[in-house]
Symmetry: C2
Subunit: 275 residues, 2 copies
């Protein structure tokens, strides 16, 4: 397993972690102050300054872009397809290592989760040729089952692996400990993903707090919750994964209220000590 | 599939649905007013009047007791074992068709979910001989993965089926749509449970609301959410299940605040129309 205790070169900051603390340039400046060289922006951060300007800022600062959040929402209706093509192009424009897909939940007014899953499969299949053409990898992010209704009906690594098996090259998986730590098949499905070189495209960390007070915006800093982070990292790295480990924390009542430098200092310290 | 539209003989009321509206006798009186003949009490309702008195009240009113909630919490430490033996005896005393097991989450201070699952397995194995001796079936209730840390580390029907396969007679499963509706393996695992006669010991319904505002206490009335209740019932009944369907709704800001008769009227109406 890689030694993270004195080396944070694999640390990537997902901009959602400091969503309330500044725009893209402010976040990049903060990363520079803390020696963080990789970032995964959300599209709203690109939209604020425009994608060409965002691409220029990222390049000028020598930032590695480990992923763009997000495409997906295939069940949202006809607009999803155009928006996903734009997301692919934005990912290409900023040189992102992948476009993260949050695939969408039930269609409006529907209770048909099997049908939603078919829509997602078809949507990814339709998007893949364009993504391959422009050289952008698509990373399915299975979300926790508590988001099955309204955010993502792909809720296990097994489902994501099945989709990758079915749809072929250019498609991979974003493994997020928050969404997957509970899964009794986690270790087996990480190993299964690992049998396909490059299938694990991203590895996200934060922590599960007890109690969790909000379904969406109460994620914990690594070390403050109950996820066995070293164990999951060991499983992921056992597949040969040598990519970034990205810190993504949605925390409306705690980390989003703190000073951005304090957040980044804590991220780095926890990154080195508890994970 | 059974016709529930004009026949509520299979309706059982879990007392949690009217947790704030009265004690056991008040709930039974309300059931009598609405022609509900089956009930699944929680142990706190028994404790209020004492188990012998509760047994007498239930018998005097001719109530079918479809289950007792709950035993389990095997990861809570040494006290769990004695408490579970008491729960088994209480279930026997009131003639409950099963004792529902909420198995417990991570042990205090632990991040070892695989270890928690081993403790649960050993705990059920240790409890089973006593349960068999007094003729009480144990029903493992897989809880939604959002409760993996603090309530139950058995989160899928697959895990529950595996435990039943491993531990043998006297053990079965409580299928609750709230906990399982998202599971891509749901239909397959219901069918798998159905290959063992009597393994499905209980079938609980409510609904998943969008949005869900509280992880524990914001369950919906059947029909108000996104669960395809008829589809899951069809799967359960296809196994040959002819037992009760129990309504269990935790709803601190809605149904717990309403008049008990309104709740029961609504339960009956939805039971007949949307499920």
């Amino acid at each position: 397993m890689r030694d993270f205790s004195k080396d944070h070169r694999w640390l990537s900051l997902n901009t959602a972690t400091v969503r309330k603390q500044g725009d893209l340039l402010a976040i990049i400046d903060a990363c520079a102050r803390h020696g963080i060289r990789a970032i995964a922006p959300w599209r709203d951060r690109l939209a604020e300054c425009g994608v060409p300007e965002a691409a220029r800022i990222l390049a000028d600062h020598g930032m590695t872009v480990t992923g763009l959040c997000r495409g997906g929402m295939f069940t949202a209706g006809d607009g999803a397809s155009d928006d996903n093509r734009r997301a692919v192009e934005e990912a290409a424009a900023i040189g992102a290592q992948c476009l993260v897909l949050v695939v969408g939940g039930l269609a409006a007014g529907s209770r048909d989760i099997a049908g939603a899953r078919r829509i997602v499969r078809d949507g990814i299949a339709a998007l893949l040729p364009h993504a391959r053409q422009v050289g952008v990898k698509l990373a399915i992010e299975p979300l926790h089952p508590m988001y099955a209704a309204d955010r993502a009906c792909v809720n296990t690594l097994a489902q994501a692996n099945d989709l990758c098996d079915a749809l072929g090259p250019g498609l991979g998986i974003a493994v997020d400990v928050y969404h997957t730590w509970w899964d009794p098949c986690l270790e087996a499905e990480i190993a299964r993903a690992g049998t396909h070189k490059g299938r694990i495209l991203a590895f996200h960390v934060c922590d599960w707090l007890v109690p969790t007070t909000d379904l969406l915006l109460d994620r914990g800093m690594m070390g403050d919750g109950v996820i066995d982070l070293p164990a999951i990292r060991r499983q992921v790295e056992a597949t040969g994964y040598t990519g970034p480990r990205e810190v993504e924390i949605f925390s409306k009542d705690n980390w989003w209220k703190r000073d951005g430098d304090e957040v980044l200092r804590t991220v780095k310290e926890r990154y080195a000590t508890v994970t």
